[in-house]
């Protein structure tokens, strides 16, 4: 277990380093960062001043090393636009997005796992068909359009839920649904496949033969083993969700990390953009690492390979 954990940790750190290099290189995507920052119609002198002020006149390796060592110490630079330390702004916005992500993934899982179990218990039944249809439809629905439709139906026509903002729990209902339904198809399919496999296994037959109640067999013996792969998938999906929440947060005007990213992209606020990408990548790396550890704990077979 310890060797497996160390190996995975090594890869995780290497991934984080590579991502930091990639996000740093965003500076040079447009060719010259000084010209990008100075904006249109800047004189050559202005551009030179900007170049010297932000240190773009130094060798690239030195720039990266500086940025990297500062980043490790929690200094991700100052926002061009907000004139504040980037790290501080991001950590003020992060909890909202985490909360939204948690609500969304909870919604997705509570929708998908029971459906997957139901579909697997009676394969090719009407439940199975309905669940699969729902999965196909869910996969094809554009998130932003689904969000707008929810606003229109439940916010404007029925007036059940608030449209924008983040003052109460009710504000998070529609965004969480719009963000979370996306996870449901994949989780549903995986739960169904896992349950089908487990239900056909010998120990389930034994449990049934012993005369255990069907519900106990289903939930205590079968589901426990069938959801192991779902843990890893849910972790990956949660990571994707934090990135995908940019669309939902702009639609519902929730002032989280996604909205911040959207603003900084519009204003070409490079340090902010880089820091958000880097932090989301690191969160993803940490979450998947934890999920792998949890998986290895739940399923000893993984530790061996």
């Amino acid at each position: 277990m310890a060797i497996y954990a160390l190996k995975r940790l090594g890869i995780a750190i290497l991934v984080a380093l590579t991502v930091s290099l990639l996000t740093f290189s965003m500076n040079y995507l447009s060719g010259d960062p000084a010209i990008t920052i100075a904006g249109e119609g800047a004189s050559i002198e202005d551009i030179e001043n900007v170049r010297r002020y932000y240190g773009f006149d130094r060798p690239i390796i030195v720039q990266y090393w500086d940025w990297f060592t500062n980043a490790i110490q929690g200094d991700l630079g100052r926002s061009f636009n907000l004139r504040q330390p980037v790290a501080e702004v991001i950590f003020n916005h992060l909890p909202t997005t985490m909360l939204l992500g948690a609500c969304a993934i909870s919604f997705g899982l509570t929708l998908a796992i029971p459906l997957g179990v139901l579909a697997a218990v009676k394969p090719n039944s009407i439940f199975d068909r309905a669940a699969l249809t729902l999965a196909v439809v869910g996969q094809a629905m554009p998130t932003f359009w689904f969000g707008l439709t929810l606003i229109l139906v439940f916010g404007v026509m029925l007036r059940w839920l608030p449209i924008t903002g983040q003052d109460s729990w009710w504000n998070f209902v529609m965004p969480a649904v719009a963000l979370g339904y996306n996870v449901a198809p994949a989780v549903m399919r995986l739960t169904r496949a896992g349950m089908l496999e487990v239900l056909a296994s010998d120990y389930i037959r034994t449990a049934r033969a012993k005369g255990l109640r069907p519900m106990k067999v289903l939930f205590k013996h079968a589901l426990r083993n069938a959801v192991i792969p779902v843990v890893a998938l849910a972790a990956v999906q949660f990571g994707f969700m934090l990135g995908g929440s940019i669309v939902i947060e702009t639609i519902f005007q929730i002032n989280g990390l996604g909205y911040l990213a959207w603003e900084s992209i519009q204003r070409k606020d490079l340090p902010m953009m880089q820091a958000i990408v880097l932090i989301l990548a690191i969160i993803y790396v940490v979450i998947t690492f934890l999920a792998d550890m949890l998986n290895a704990f739940l399923d000893p077979r993984i530790r061996v390979t």
Binding site: V136, A140, L148, I265
Partner: protein, 311 residues
Amino acid sequence: MAETTITRTTLARAGVQTAEEILAPSPGTMMRRRIFGHYGLMIGAFILLVIIFMALFANVISPHDAYDQQLGRKLIPPIWHNSPKATWVHPLGTDHLGRDYLTRLYHGARVSLLIGFSAMIISGLIGTILGVLAGYFGGRVDMVVNFLITTRLSMPVILVALAVVSIVGSSLTVVIWVLGLLIWDRFAVVMRSATQQVRSLEFVTAAEALGCSHLRILLTEIAPNVMNHLIVVATLEMAHAILLEAALSFLGLGVQPPTPSWGLMISEAKGLMYFDPWLIAIPGTALFMLVLSINLVGDGLRDVTAPENRS
């Protein structure tokens, strides 16, 4: 003299076909039956063909120009609205600048299909090469490819795409390349495991024993056997690229106005959606139908070409 009874086995041993064997459908007929008997595949293919037809003949089937703005006829509701303004001249109405909505829908299909297809080809090339190499050679190559996949997965797609497009400047080509370079992960993952499976089969070992080169084994032994996986991922990723383009255009960093794109049409109508909800319902439905049809075709092809069906 013992009476010999003619059984199926004696016939088969003599190489004589029974009536059922002669009348049994050929593999080609079986395949055709499976394809035409698969409702999902048929429905998906039908919708997809209609949308491709709309895209190809946009100029022929519509009497209007997609860019022709006439403020005098703006926001005409679609024909099913009980409004005196609704007219068959503009069956789906007009947008806030008086452009015919149906014509813009046709042209939007072009943008979606073009971006979806091109991005799928680029990402397919990258992902397939990486995945097949990792699955075939294993060892260090596999480790490197796995590392690349993990790194790619850790970068949030929409965010990176938006950031890159905003820095580089947005155009159709930029959107295609950015999406193509970002969404190769699923190709790599699926092709890697598919190649690993085929790699361990006897005929590959036989080819190796005969002294075939790696390239020859890859092309003549591996490629035909991983093709069905490739086709399924290709459809899924095309749908993925189309959804991403729509999201990018919706956020204003994809296709630029006045080019008609379904995501952009929804974005332009966002402010008016409380008064004229059809403005977002129509392009949204079109987007949904296109992605749904591509997914149905992909799922259908997987069912039809799955090896366990092949006997």
